[in-house]
Symmetry: C2
Subunit: 422 residues, 2 copies
């Protein structure tokens, strides 16, 4: 297994001299440390110029150059090793020039670890008004002030290089639901062409001292054939990692699981796989079981600000009267600041009184909860007990009501050797 | 000078046995360490069962059992040694029983230092609706849900004992502006009678293990005679400290200064003096010059949440476009987290993006600024250079526009020995 094959190709093609300790794409490496025998779950380690990340990993989202309510050190203390920032938002405010002049996004916001920046494709189609796609790119109106902007596969590379991102995402064409198959096919194929342009652009414009790498994004809507075809097409591209996009957009959980099962088996085994926008506790187990290595989602911090806290028994609403007099922690298994330094009654009081400190403590708790879930997942994979650990967690965790349950996938015996692998 | 005289009287009267290290009022002591020769400024140290406080001191306000946006450890890190909590708010939410069951306000909110609780008198008259005063007390409707409540001089002692307060405030009759002299006289005299009842109640109900002490409140509106008379009346009462209430309610700064000059000279020299609800940087200097030892105000944290930051040059509005690209700290003299770890451009971005982290950093900055002002004040008094330090600060600091300036008071030569002292 040559884990650095695609990377070596990239280096060769760009013909940059590589010195010892050079701060460039040479730093990026994905080590596959263990694979589960019963499912597609895998345990790995992602190396970047700004540190390594144990996978499977959950990445907190810092949309506007801040993980909402928290300091960088607090985010790190929850166990996070990498965070997200958002090209669309940063481009509009404070602007790429300002971030570059500040010394990049890391220095601007004070996070010293790796940062993955999404391309903004999703936000253009979900937040911006009057978006219009051509083969060249997408034009849209800012959700802040209505100003007109254009994004192209090349411009989002420029933006992410300006930010000093560690992992850049391609611009992709995202569709809402429901969508006709012909529209999905069109968007999916355009995303592939845009990825080719992104790769070419990066080759031309990446400075020697940049260590940023590019991930491609698989789309395909809820169509199994398109998912499979696009995964295979992405697998053939010279990217550092592969993302699965366009899921968790409102479809039932079994559909998301089925789409993943038509995707990850056809992505390169030696590259990290990133399921975009997914981060409920139960979905982390479902995604890992289907071969996902990286996740991101605003859910833990957004839910926290809405007083919804994760516990092993499920989500609880801390504003409920039942918490008013609880003299102990929200979750006595949790080692976060909220649970070790304050009572549930106090946090209930903070939320009832609309105090900002409540938002902070809840955000730390939910991020810590997900980090502990990822710990359990990684340990279970290494210990050969992922299926049992998954069942134990999901039996105890009451997901949001009305969700259909998802079973563990059965990994075909021949899978590790040939199915869709290159 | 016998600094413990009033305390000894209290002990004698209540006939409680005092053991070594007993957690009771014996812990409370005010040491007068230095007095300025030119003004009424004084440097002292207040001892409580939960630690000592260097005076003059500014006390951050934790209205609802949290200094808004901050953790207790962060408030402490700004230099604060004592904070306020609010009887009116805590009584309504979460309720005195709940706080008592939680082990008191200190354990409930996680602040281990001393806490001063105000009586709620001011809030009843400013926040609550349909308030009605009788000789017995005041009835009012909660600003939260309209429920009917009554406060009496005795009940607010019970409440503050339930909270486990270190310094309790008497219930006083607060008037809004403008007020007729007859109404002011009536309210002022009622406040005195209520203080007598509070002292009697405390004697009867204070548990042996309680270390709480009681401060009386001087009122008198903007009437020099009433201020002087009421100060003299308060000076004769058996209280641990004397507060000046009913100022900073909209009057011009020179009027507040004049009222202070008719108040503090008639209060006991050996007891701490607390100017309630005052906390703008310039007013701290003005108050100290007139013999004030303790201040509290929501201003630093409220201004912070409105993007108004204190600097040696005056208040600045961090949302102004001029801050957009500032690559250095808001205030390069400041050692707070906002100024040492983040650029002004980043904090500008946080406020423009309505991110909670901006509120936090700004709150820490403003509290740290006031703590540094108090440091300067204390050092200047000890160094015999208070007047020069005050002039230097006030020359540089641009107060909010339209404020009249206040001169330093001239302390009469005979003042230290006889004027209004007992």
């Amino acid at each position: 297994m040559d884990l650095t094959a695609s990377h070596a190709t990239a280096i060769e093609r760009s013909r940059r001299p590589i010195g010892p300790g050079a701060s460039n794409r040479d730093h990026f490496r994905f080590d596959l440390l263990a694979e589960d025998e019963q499912t597609w779950a895998r345990r790995g380690r992602l190396h970047t110029a700004r540190g390594s990340i144990e996978t499977p990993a959950f990445m907190p989202v810092g949309t506007q150059a801040t993980v909402k309510t928290l300091l960088p050190g607090e985010v790190r203390s929850t166990g996070a090793e990498i965070i997200l920032a958002n090209t669309y938002h940063l481009m509009l405010r404070p602007g790429a020039d300002l971030v570059r002049e500040a010394g990049g996004i890391h220095r601007f916001m004070g996070w010293t670890g790796p940062i993955l920046t999404d391309s903004g494709g999703f936000q253009v189609f979900s937040l911006a008004a009057y978006n219009k796609v051509t083969e060249e790119g997408v034009t849209f109106a800012s959700h802040i002030d209505g100003s007109r902007w254009t994004m192209t596969p090349e411009s989002v590379i420029d933006l992410q290089l300006a930010f000093g991102s560690d992992i850049m995402m391609q611009l992709d064409h995202v569709l809402g639901l429901p969508a006709e198959r012909v529209a999905i096919t069109d968007a999916t194929e355009r995303s592939s062409r845009w990825l080719e342009r992104a790769i070419r652009a990066l080759d031309h414009v990446q400075p020697e001292d940049s260590s940023a790498v590019l991930f491609g994004i698989q789309q395909g809507g809820m169509d199994p054939d398109l998912r499979r075809e696009h995964a295979q097409r992405l697998a053939a591209m010279d990217v550092a990692g592969c993302a699965v996009g366009g899921l968790s957009v409102g479809e039932p959980k079994p559909v998301m699981a089925a789409m993943l099962e038509e995707s990850t088996p056809f992505l390169p085994r030696e590259k990290p796989r990133y399921l975009m926008g997914v981060g409920s506790p139960e979905d982390l187990w479902h995604g890992v079981a289907r071969g996902i290595d990286m996740f991101d989602c605003v859910l833990p911090t957004r839910a926290a600000r809405n007083a919804a806290l994760f516990t092993d028994d499920g989500r609880v609403q801390i504003t409920n009267a039942s918490w008013r007099q609880v003299p102990g922690p929200i979750d006595d298994q949790c080692d976060c600041r909220a649970c070790t330094q304050f009572t549930a009654a106090y946090i209930h009081h903070l939320f009832r009184s609309r105090e900002v400190l409540g938002l902070r403590l809840a955000s730390e708790h939910n991020l810590r909860f997900l980090a502990r879930v990822m710990d359990r997942i990684r340990n279970a994979i290494v210990g050969g007990a992922f299926a049992e650990a998954s069942a134990a967690f999901l039996d105890g965790y009451q997901a949001a009501k009305g969700q259909e349950t998802v079973s563990l996938p059965n990994r075909p015996v021949q899978a590790a050797s040939d199915r869709g692998r290159r």
